[in-house]
């Protein structure tokens, strides 16, 4: 079992600016833990989390893969989040590379077909100061990223995405099936009801490796 990263260095004040981990975060951690062996078997070298917030997910991923086995890049458009991600990384001895950036813009050209593990828990709940405005259902920002996923993933790369029922999961999967390389390679890793929400973690694999 991989322990949940320690966030005791963060305070109420931090959570005024940065999304506090909630059910959607924990469902993603659980899904990644379920995938741990298969993630390790890819020997990932470049991981990228978009909208890293507190940095809890990348720190967790660091301990799944081994902190010295890969580079853990995280972007967030919110400067407070980038700082929290850096602090959470050091608190958990998982060095992270936070960048203040919108989605993947400054990395896109150099990371063309280079990302082994891409993770995104979109800001479906808007309203945190400085966070992404997710649009009516957070889908605008998801759609903007989905367009780029295929260009980022390495030949063995995979993408983990948190979705809520309102996202229309079949439509999401259909969108990802458009590039031929994902045909038949999307999967719901985990689904869970959390209060009024129904949460999913989807996995898109660019090429089947040890599945």
């Amino acid at each position: 079992m991989i322990p949940t990263p320690d966030l005791s260095h963060l305070s109420k004040g931090d959570y005024e600016y940065v999304y506090e981990p909630a059910e959607d975060t924990f469902v993603l951690l659980d899904a990644l833990e379920e995938e741990a062996d298969s993630i390790r078997s890819l020997v990932p070298r470049i991981c990228l989390e978009i909208g890293s917030g507190t940095g809890i997910v990348s720190s967790f991923l660091g301990h799944i893969i081994g902190v010295s086995n890969a580079l853990f890049l995280c972007t967030d458009i919110n400067p407070h989040a980038a700082t929290c991600s850096a602090r959470t990384g050091s608190q958990n001895k998982a060095p992270l590379e936070p960048l203040i950036a919108s989605l993947v813009s400054p990395l896109a050209s150099r990371l063309a077909h280079a990302v082994d593990i891409l993770v995104f828990n979109p800001p479906y709940r808007a309203g945190i100061a400085g966070s992404w405005a997710g649009g009516a259902d957070g889908m605008q920002v998801v759609a903007a990223l989905l367009e780029q996923v295929d260009g980022l993933l390495s030949p063995r790369g995979r993408f983990y995405l948190v979705a809520v029922k309102q996202n229309n999961i079949p439509k999401l999967r259909e969108f990802m099936l458009k590039p031929f390389c994902y045909r038949g390679r999307t999967k719901i890793v985990l689904q869970r009801r959390a209060g009024r929400e129904y949460l999913f973690v989807l996995r898109f694999v660019r090429r089947v490796v040890n599945v």
Binding site: I46, S68, N69, A86, A114
Partner: protein
């Protein structure tokens, strides 16, 4: 943390800036050296992702002259250790990175680069 491994992956993404936009040039840097666990397999595995000339240029800009201008064919342990140090142990805590093409300046503060653009600069 801006380490040279990350700097090697960053390009200017301002509107209209699509060529000669890499590598970003360092200036006014404040450095810190922090030890990292040496993992030769990682360095070997990451090497194909590195733009060698950009790494050599960047390391010289921040005052490290240990890397040879040509990437050696032989990846012996001494070389991998040197590369480990340059890629992972030198931290740029403060300073800026400037695009060689459009001269956009990306500031680095407390080890975190701000890669955001103003509304009118976004592609």
């Amino acid at each position: 943390m801006v380490r040279l491994i990350t700097h090697n992956l960053l390009a200017c993404h301002a509107k209209g800036c699509t060529s000669n936009n890499f590598p970003l040039r360092f200036s006014n840097v404040k450095l810190a050296l922090r030890e990292a666990d040496f993992n030769p397999d990682f360095i070997r595995g990451f090497l194909p992702r590195i733009e060698w000339d950009a790494l050599v240029q960047a390391s010289r800009e921040i005052g490290d002259t240990s890397l040879p201008p040509e990437r050696p064919e032989m990846l012996d342990d001494d070389f991998l250790k040197q590369l480990h140090h340059v890629l992972l142990e030198i931290h740029v805590d403060e300073g800026s990175m400037t695009c060689p093409n459009c001269e956009h300046v990306y500031p680095i503060s407390s080890g975190i680069p701000n890669m955001l653009l103003a509304e009118h600069e976004i592609r």
